[in-house]
């Protein structure tokens, strides 16, 4: 699978889903979309598709098509979609042209806010605890959903995934979350926000700072495990292999 195909999946299914948390946790984002009542679909010709729904101050992101979305954005190729994510090319508006003002000014404010957390300013990351917390939560979710896409579409990750035992992996930030769970099955992986009882393997990150360092590729994980900052247990080969997959995220979402 080519770079653009993988990146398109990551953009649609690992990056966009963060809008759900963003709207929930970031007051500025919440205020922006408090009265939005609109659904939008993103679809690539012969490629992946996702849709977003805003209503009652919350946001839901789903995989697949919604034929009745108020706004339908189409892309001729994965590259086209990826360029839109970099604000370098506009989408084709197949439906909802009357919502142009929303598309041109309101929605981008929200995605800018997402970018603010996901492409963090290093200084802010160091000095602002709240900012760091948001970055960590969103990066944790991105990592879990990205792993699913990489295991399906990145050739190296497909190879790694073929050797992973089946079961569930819990990644959790202590003391009480957030957490993500990965369901690893031969016929496909799934990610889910939240905790699970009796996972096959778990990785518990001591606090937000350790989790942030881990997720931003700034942690010597072997040291962290030995010193107790990260606790692993269960079917460790799942974690070893998942780690290799997570390490490939920056090749796409740098």
């Amino acid at each position: 699978m080519g770079h653009d195909r993988v990146l398109a999946s990551l953009n649609l299914f690992a990056v966009l889903q963060n809008l759900e948390e963003l709207v929930k946790l970031d007051p500025q984002a919440a205020a922006l979309c408090a009265d939005w009542n609109v659904s939008m679909s993103f679809s690539v010709l012969n490629g992946p598709a996702a849709w977003i729904e805003f209503g009652n101050g919350s946001c839901t992101v789903k995989k697949g098509w919604d034929l009745k979305a108020d706004i339908a954005l189409k892309f001729v190729s994965c590259r086209h979609l990826n360029l839109m994510f970099e604000s370098k090319r506009p989408p084709i508006i197949a439906r909802g042209i009357t919502r142009l003002p929303f598309l041109l000014s309101k929605f981008p404010q929200l995605t800018k806010r997402l970018e603010y957390y996901l492409k963090p300013d290093e200084k802010l990351l160091e000095t602002d605890e709240l900012f760091r917390r948001m970055n960590t939560i969103l990066t944790l979710n991105t990592a879990a959903f990205a792993a699913v896409e990489l295991a399906s579409y990145d050739p190296v990750c497909q190879h790694i995934a073929s050797a992973i035992p089946q079961g569930t992996v819990l990644l959790k930030i202590l003391p009480d979350g957030p957490a993500v769970t990965l369901f690893i099955k031969k016929d496909g992986w799934q990610a889910q926000k939240g905790d699970i009882e009796n996972p096959s393997a778990k990785m518990l990150l001591k606090d937000m700072d350790i989790a942030g360092a881990f997720l931003n590729q700034k942690l010597d994980i072997f040291c962290a495990i030995a010193s107790g900052d990260v606790a692993i247990s269960g079917t460790v080969p799942m974690l070893d292999n998942l780690g290799l997959i997570l390490d490939r995220i920056p090749l796409y979402l740098a």
Partner: protein
């Protein structure tokens, strides 16, 4: 029995983390020791079957330095032989006579092998073996086993591991252990392209039950290799001299072309060996391969002393017998507490696993508890016994295991 504490180990590790990648890297990394808080990180000294950590805690050692310790730590005969050689000068500008002596000794000892080449680590000789096979056949591809470990050179590692290129493992074809048909179909699919088949004498992966060869497996592999001009390499680095002094291929009844030895060969002194059939001698000679310390004579003297002593006391038989008693005792202890402890692999290097919890968390807890009371067990890797393990060790170990199962049960309640 009170649990050990590890203040000095942890203080050292904190310093290490600042100046050494991983703090402690590779197979000694504490990362798979779960939970790490139950394990010592730094050792102070060893004698016989036990080692003492920097905090003064003593352990009956069932990892034996991950294999090299085979006669017991601080073994007088081996240490004296090494010291004597070292005093003469271990690293001079030409090799010492002991190199020839050791090669001759090994050629006499190991069945079917006509020459020996020395290096330091297991990885040195598995990589050399593959190069020799490629040189001899003019072919590129190497068939290996999924989950088989042959070291850390890029060709031994999988795609996706850091620092490893697609090209590094592009010619390594991995198949499941004991699947002769998979090997036969690869041979058919890549006619005239397979240089070697490499595997350990039996399958000893980490985190999974170990598996002996199915009846006839090695014999069929050998036959096909011989027919198709494929070099049959046995990686006897872990099993070597723990199953049979003449090589583990004798234990399983087949004849390889190349055999790799390391771990148990010199009771902890750094040396490894590739041995081969006469037909491959000139090909081996053509491959340029060497290292700064590969001619050090003290480890060679240590190897001679170790092998002679292992042979004199019939080391493999002693270790197999002790391992048998250990595993039986542990399985019975487990059963008395309502747990099922499954044993696999050779008793001299057994892999144990509590089957009641497929996630292995229970097993990890039990191994951690045992270690924290003085029986050094890892949960991810096969264990090793040595000829120094004795009845006192066995009794003490079973007591510790019993207590650990009791604690495990209490915790569940």
């Amino acid at each position: 029995m009170t649990a050990y504490s590890h203040e000095k180990s942890r203080a050292l590790f904190e310093r290490a983390a600042k100046v050494i990648p991983c703090g402690i890297y590779g197979h000694f990394s504490p990362a798979p020791l779960i939970p790490p808080s139950d394990y010592p990180f730094y050792a102070e000294s060893g004698a016989g079957s036990r080692f003492v950590d920097v905090d003064g805690n003593s352990f009956i050692d069932y990892m034996c330095a991950y294999g090299p310790m085979v006669l017991g730590y601080a073994h007088k005969k081996v240490d004296a032989a090494a010291a004597k050689e070292h005093k003469k000068g271990s690293c001079l500008s030409a090799p010492a006579p002991v190199m020839v002596e050791l090669a001759e000794y090994l050629v006499d000892l190991v069945f079917g092998m006509d020459w020996a080449f020395f290096a330091k680590n297991g990885n040195d000789v598995t990589t050399y073996a593959v190069m020799v096979a490629r040189a001899a056949t003019g072919r590129k591809k190497v068939v290996a086993i999924k989950g088989g470990y042959h070291g850390v050179a890029p060709w031994t590692q999988g795609l996706g591991h850091h620092g490893v290129l697609e090209e590094d493992c592009g010619h390594i074809l991995r198949i499941a252990w004991n699947d002769f048909d998979a090997f036969a179909s690869l041979v058919e699919k890549h006619p005239g392209q397979i240089a070697a088949f490499i595997a350990s004498p039996y399958h000893h992966p980490v985190y999974a039950d170990n598996q002996y060869p199915a009846p006839g497996y090695w014999q069929k592999v050998q036959k096909l290799c011989n027919q198709k001009g494929i070099v049959l390499i046995v990686d006897d680095i872990r099993c070597g001299f723990r199953l049979n002094m003449a090589g583990s291929h004798v234990f399983f009844g087949f004849e390889p072309d190349l055999v790799c030895f390391c771990k148990a060969i010199a009771n902890g002194y750094p040396i490894s060996a590739l041995m081969g059939k006469g037909a491959l001698l000139t090909d081996a000679a053509k491959v340029f391969y060497t290292g700064s310390y590969w001619f050090s004579s003290a480890p060679m003297a240590a190897a001679l002393a170790t092998l002679a002593e292992l042979k004199r006391i019939n080391g493999p038989e002693l270790m197999l017998a002790f391992g048998e008693k250990l595993c039986k005792g542990l399985a019975e202890t487990a059963k008395s507490h309502g747990y099922d402890l499954k044993v696999s692999g050779a008793p001299s290097m057994p892999y144990l696993r509590i089957t009641d919890d497929p996630s292995q968390m229970l097993h990890q807890k039990w191994c951690g508890l045992c270690t924290s009371m003085g029986a050094y067990f890892t949960s991810h890797h096969n264990w090793f016994v040595s000829t120094a393990h004795n009845e006192t060790d066995l009794t003490d170990t079973l007591k510790i295991a019993d207590r650990a199962f009791e604690m495990l049960k209490k915790e569940k309640r």
